[in-house]
């Protein structure tokens, strides 16, 4: 007989409670790393016991107690090894303690804790890979094994990455407290960026044979929802959540039966998730009139224009071009310039788009990047230069590290290669 597993409601509850409980444990024991390990063990214990014995009356208190007991046991064992060295008040040696906010009191602050935890896990001192792993475990409540599976690496590798991330946090002396008002916007930007990276990793896997690992996208959406609930007035948080929803809505249409990539133009739009589109557009409509438009809102607006077109040929390209124009003025990102060139081609013809792409050839950030080749091939094809397009598709195929994308690009090259034969 297999042991029962958590139902969807319990799973959701557990993951929502994870950052709150972690915040409480950190406040008591003041050791981020040990607290994080203890909460992880408590989550695993819950996953084993709750399906069998039912939900405890106070799930949060239950998790807090189990985690506290683990950490106290561990500290006691440690203390015994030190031959009953005097136990410090907080039970944790001062050199391991992390700073708490000066105005710290005992009022329950679980919502703020979730936010503080996100700030901590997404601290700019961490590499993106470390921040992603730590966010998924500490704020998302995923186990190391689950994160490892999502990133297709052995569990031991992921455990190392998480442990390194925790060491970096300790070394950087990041306090477990709300950033100051001046710091807040910059730190919030880092949190949004990490959530965006998690979503993208799920949506377009950077390596491996399958195109999207939906669990990571769903987790990014869940965390973005949590953040949006904590900061309902922050426009870019709403923008990021809208962007994720409007992009993820196309998931079912994005791949064919054999896992092959289907471009936007060829997707069966009936497969798009309408409720997600409606929700994303509602979020945007509530946010856009407030002024202060950010990059996530603009990208969400572009996704919305695509999602609103019943057929590819109905797409409002002039509007998309205008939005990319705004986006380009806001950020010096070569990928945005690339999309701007494609939108230009859709409105003013391929020659205008190709001229913009030529200007990007000199950008060192795009050197060797397959997207420039792929975009050029696409526009050359539209302009009737099939030979140039074939060459571009092939060069892009050589440079991409995504197998589905490589297969797609080679299929495009092969399709064009055959076209003149058929015409003859």
């Amino acid at each position: 007989m297999t042991s029962p597993t958590l139902d969807a409601h319990q799973e959701r509850l557990l993951r929502d409670l994870a950052p709150q409980v972690l915040g409480m444990v950190i406040r008591r024991f003041r050791d981020f790393s040990a607290s994080e390990d203890a909460v992880q063990e408590a989550l695993i214990a819950a996953a084993a016991q709750w399906p069998r014995e039912g939900l405890p009356d106070e799930p949060r208190a239950w998790l807090y107690q189990v985690a506290s007991r683990r950490i106290a046991d561990q500290v006691r064992a440690e203390a015994a090894r030190r031959r009953r060295e005097a136990i410090v008040v907080s039970l944790v040696p001062p050199e391991l303690q992390i700073a708490l906010a000066a105005d710290d009191d005992d009022t329950p602050a679980e919502h703020d804790d979730t936010l503080v935890l996100l700030f901590m896990c997404c601290h700019p001192a961490l590499s993106p890979a470390s921040a992603i792993a730590l966010t998924l475990r500490a704020a998302g409540g995923l186990t190391t094994a689950e994160i490892a599976t999502a990133f297709l690496v052995p569990e031991a590798t992921m455990a190392q990455r998480i442990s390194r991330a925790k060491q970096s946090i300790k070394a950087s002396l990041v306090p477990f407290q709300m950033p100051t008002a001046e710091e807040r916007d910059q730190r919030l930007g880092a949190v949004l960026h990490v959530l965006y990276l998690i979503f993208n990793e799920g949506y377009t896997t950077s390596s491996g044979p399958t195109l999207h690992r939906s669990d990571l996208s769903s987790e990014a959406i869940r965390l973005a929802r949590t953040l949006h609930a904590l900061l309902p007035d922050h426009a870019e948080t709403a923008g990021l959540l809208a962007l994720m929803l409007l992009t993820d809505a196309r998931r079912a249409a994005r791949t064919g039966p054999a896992g092959e990539l289907i471009p936007l133009d060829d997707q069966d739009r009936r497969l798009w998730d309408q409720p997600a589109i409606v929700e994303g557009i509602a979020l945007l409509s509530a946010t856009l009139p407030r002024g202060a438009i950010g990059a996530y809102q603009l990208q969400a607006a572009i996704a919305a224009v695509h999602d609103e077109a019943a057929r590819a040929e109905d797409t409002d390209w002039p509007q998309i071009l205008a939005l990319y124009g705004l986006l380009q003025r806001m950020s010096d990102n070569p990928m945005v310039a690339l999309s701007h060139a494609i939108a230009t081609a859709m409105v003013h013809g391929p020659a205008a788009g190709l001229a913009l792409l030529r200007a990007l050839d000199a950008d060192p950030r795009l050197t060797g990047n397959h997207r420039l080749d792929a975009a050029r091939a696409h526009l050359l094809e539209r302009s009737g230069d099939h030979e140039g397009a074939i060459e571009g598709y092939r060069r892009a195929a050589q440079r991409t590290t995504s197998i589905p994308e490589q297969n797609y690009l080679l299929t495009q090259a092969a399709r064009l290669n055959e076209a003149p034969l058929k015409a003859r």
Binding site: A258, A397, N407, L410, A414, E418
Partner: protein, 131 residues
């Protein structure tokens, strides 16, 4: 026993999928995906990876100061690892049979490629007790 099945191909050798007809290319991809799926379902697949193109390959050595010194681009006739499978099987014969199946992947015109697959055992035996 674990074996690694390595698909080696010259930079500009017979495995030039970029020049194949669309139908042939798609048949090849379908074969490769089905092949991995079958091995996985049989519990024989440990890992399989395809590698990025050889034009991105660099040979790296430590210089006098221990810093990396890179070398590339390589002649197109040089053989490169295009990808590999690691399988866990009962016998050497089974590893050979899997390699032969991969070797016969369809190429242009749907004809089997019969490309060379290098089969090497992965050292994973337990250490003998030392007396």
């Amino acid at each position: 026993m674990k074996y690694i099945l390595m698909m080696n191909t010259p930079g500009k050798g017979p495995y030039q999928v970029a020049n194949w007809a669309k139908q042939d290319f798609q048949a090849h991809i379908a074969f490769m995906m089905g092949f991995s799926k079958k091995l996985r379902a049989a519990g024989e697949l440990v890992a399989a990876e395809g590698l990025a193109g050889p034009d991105q390959a660099r040979l790296v050595r430590a210089g006098q100061d221990g810093k990396p010194v890179t070398d590339g681009v390589f002649p197109e006739t040089k053989e490169f690892l295009a990808g590999y499978w690691i399988v866990d099987v009962e016998t050497t014969e089974r590893a050979y049979a899997i390699a032969a199946e991969a070797s016969a992947a369809p190429g242009p015109g749907g004809k089997p490629l019969n490309m060379g697959i290098e089969v090497r055992q992965v050292m994973s035996g337990p250490p003998k007790d030392l007396l």
